[in-house]
Amino acid sequence: MTASPESKAVSIAVLLLAIPALAGLVATLLPAFGVAPGFGAYGPDLAPWRRLLAEPGLPRALLSGTGAGLASTILAVLAAHFILAHLHLSGRLVRLAHGIAPLLALPHAVFAIGFAFLVQPSGLLLRLISPWATGFEQPPDWRFPGDPWTISLTLGLALRETPFLLLAGLAVLARMPTATYLAVARSLGHQWGRAWLAVVLPPLQRALRLPALAVLAYGCSAVDMALVLGPSTPPTLAVLVARLAVEPAPELRHAAAAGAVLQLLAILLAAAVFLFLERLLLRLVARRSRSSRRGKGEGRVWASGVAMTIVPGTGLLVLSQLLLWSLAGSWRFPALLPDALTFEHWRRASPQLVPAATTSLLLALPVAAVAVAAAVPLLRRRDATGHYGRLPAASALLWLPLVLPQLAFLPGFQFLALVCGIDGTLTAVALAHFVFVLPYVLLVAAGPFAAMPDRYGEVARLLGSRPIGAFLRAEAPLLLRPLAVAFAVGASVSMALYLPTLLLGGGRVATLSTETIAFTLSGDRRLAAATGLLFAVLPGLLFLVPFLFGAPGGKARRAAHRPRSL
């Protein structure tokens, strides 16, 4: 590709977009090595690291946080594959999945609260079988959730992230001529399941790799979910670091910066392990699909059935529990239903809910719109290696907020906002949100853009359209739906952001995300449920936007496939 003025402009845009992430990172890295003039650190030295290592329980915190992140990612990827394969048996179910997946894409914090409502000793699951089967008149004294082996956190993360991978997978499948692949494979004598393994799974997993790594990075560094479901003595590394970051003493905040670096190293290690396992699995799959031995595949069918039941089932139970708790009067163990229903909690919550919901939307909608607008030119100039323009390093920077823990950027952002005098404002929060939203938008929209055959634009250009006209007339109509999905994902990411909102808003910017966590930590389950429910419904509504641009598997998908089959 020659260096056209357009590609130069894209390079500059990439650079501009990458600056905030880079600045935040540098402003975090320096204090981690004792360089923070004005904050009492005139290094470089390793004092922050010594302080971090002195934190009680650090090795276990590191192990439990990273372990839960890795294990939950593996579980979620496997579940997504089973469900995608299963759903694909019937084309109509794909449509259903599009309906269910957004419903399940509950904000992490809300999902964690609802999941705790299910699995805690006084939760729904034990109420269902108590006292008649268990003999429990009082909730048993079980250390769950919050178990030291992070089983509850791992399960919660896996169940929460599977819908995200499903959404990503469905987008990929919609662009893949799976039917053709499968027909060819079956005509070669493969049974259906084997054909799927041979021709669909490998490219599908390659396309799911980045989303999976994002899930991994999130899982290792999640603060909101780990606060609710994770162990507390010690907590996971992410929670430990986040607590250091809000300490007043600068030396503790520098230790937090060091902790953010440690978190980053742990994520890189976990990613390496994940990629190794992925490779192993793909190799195994390839060998099995080549062998002529005919397995019945009953295990897979069974696993698919379990995943198909548990993932949506949990989502629906979580929502039902949130609804019930938000309306519950007295509701003691082991009653299956509340003694009485009341709107009192909604009334109590509404003075805080309405402004918080407004602020959430005021942030999410413009941020997501700008992110989509910024993503389009970048994605159009994406070359085969996945880089934008001529600055591969800068385009790598764009991805950093996805892979690095949020905390790696936030102390730096905080400092920069202070210097600019915009800390505690909606602007500062919006700018920080943009940095975290953009890579998600790029991620979600990248697949459809890559699948878009070049020839449309080329034909339009040959017919005399200018590049922008060619895009708007020939390609944009086909990309409307994926862009709407990207917008919805971007907006829901913005709404869910907790730490960036808290730290850059200086607590002044109250969104549904910060209010939900505040209510949860304050222990008022009913207010937390009411806030959480609203927090879940709003992004859910956003996911209806793509349907305005046609049903999945409809026009856009057929159109995208046509050129290949011609």
């Binding site: 250390r143 400092f415 607590g507 002044r508 505040a518 008022d524």
Partner: protein, 404 residues
């Protein structure tokens, strides 16, 4: 020298003396001018937001200062007041000497000590508030001595807290009326007692009671403690916890993260006990439909820690005038009586009721009582809040032993 200075001021009788020196040495604030300047302004009130009832009270305050002074009050809800101190430190480092983000701050104890040490607060101002003359400084010495540190006018007293325990009278009719009896009960009914993990302030304060219970003399607790003497003094305390924790909820291997979560566990029937810094909180929670009506409040015979909480104004507050007016309103009989109502918050007043005009006094006398709150005839033995260094070391020592 500083430590001795502090020790000299712990007794209630000396408290009134503290008030005088900083009253005389500077010109008082002109509240008429302040009222004019503050009209139409916004006050950002950084206050712990963990209690919906308190948040609603602050919303009511917002309505009233809107009516009285044309001030818009915005509560910025903190999970931990240390976050606000962190903001002030960051602003100081960035050289923001005015236009700071915090106008008014709810604070006490180690956060006040830290803010004073770093010179982050405006003052002295407390004695200049018109309603300060109604404060019961002599009867309630903690209104001017915050965890052994003289406030020196850098924070205005807002409310009186007293540590209490709740128990569910449906589970057993009589509470344990001493700490040994409580420990006996914990051993007899394993898994039914716990406390919020420090540094939650209720959890840390529960541990501070064990400092008294395990025999550290009260006067020693009023002085700062260093690492080595702390280990010596607290060996019995940690031995006691080692002994008791296996009988705790989750065998003492997991703890609720806040007093709210502790309350929820009692409400769920997972615990027999909860605890609070507010003698009326149980009533408040019953009235809010959160706790079963069978919950009652008690204090052990050894007494419990009582302290005050305060309002401070940062040195760089953008709206100092508005903050002064809101602080003064919070000290008014109207606001203090409303705050004392168990259906609203139930927080103790800092005012001397005998100094109030009869119609203002009536606001306090007419407040309803509730069976779930601490009965008024309970022997009122109170313990002083130890020097902040004890809490700091206690939190660290706890984390090293049980938090890892």
């Amino acid at each position: 020298m500083r430590a001795m200075h502090r020790r000299g001021f712990v007794l209630g009788a000396t408290a009134a003396l503290v008030a005088t020196p900083w009253q005389s040495c500077r010109a008082a604030l002109d509240f008429a001018a302040i009222r004019v300047r503050a009209r139409g302004s916004t006050v950002y009130f950084y206050a712990w937001g963990g209690s919906p009832e308190i948040n609603r009270y602050i919303a009511w305050v917002g309505e009233r200062v809107g009516e009285l002074y044309g001030i818009r009050l915005v509560q910025v809800k903190l999970a931990d007041t240390a976050e606000a101190v962190a903001i002030l430190i960051a602003e100081k480092a960035a050289g923001r000497e005015s236009g700071g983000s915090i106008d008014l701050l709810w604070i006490n104890g180690e956060n006040f000590a830290e803010a004073r040490r770093r010179d982050l607060l405006f003052g002295p101002f407390a004695q200049d508030l018109p309603n300060f003359r109604l404060v019961d400084v002599a009867g309630k010495p903690s209104t001017v001595i915050d965890s052994t540190l003289p406030t020196e006018g850098y924070e205005a007293p807002w409310g009186m807290a007293r540590f209490v325990f709740f128990w569910d009278s449906a589970a057993f009719p009589e509470p344990p009326l001493s700490f040994p009896a409580l420990f006996e009960r914990i051993r007899a009914r394993p898994g039914r007692f716990t406390y919020p993990a420090p540094p939650d302030f209720v959890g840390s304060t529960f541990l501070e009671h064990l400092l008294y219970v395990t025999g550290i003399p009260a006067h020693r607790l009023q002085r700062a403690v260093d690492a080595s003497s702390f280990e010596t003094w607290t060996a019995p305390l940690f031995a006691l916890l080692d002994d008791l924790h296996p009988h705790f909820w989750r065998r003492g291997r997991q703890f609720p993260l806040s007093q709210g979560q502790l309350h929820q566990l009692l409400a769920d029937g997972e615990l027999d006990f909860s605890m609070s810094f507010n003698p009326a909180e149980a009533a408040n929670l019953v009235l809010a439909g959160w706790m079963p009506a069978s919950v009652r409040t008690f204090v052990p015979a050894e007494g419990t820690i009582a302290n005050s909480h305060y309002l401070a104004i940062p040195w760089n507050a953008a709206n100092r005038d508005g903050a002064l007016l809101v602080a003064d309103f919070l000290l008014s009989p109207e606001a203090q009586a409303k705050k004392l109502d168990p259906a609203v918050w139930g927080d103790g007043t800092v005012l001397a009721l005998d100094r109030l005009a009869p119609e203002e006094r009536a606001r306090f006398d007419s407040l309803p009582r509730h069976p779930s709150m601490l009965p008024p005839d309970v022997p009122a033995r109170t313990l002083s809040e130890p020097h902040p260094s004890w809490k700091e070391r206690l939190e660290l020592g706890w984390k090293q032993r049980y938090g890892a």
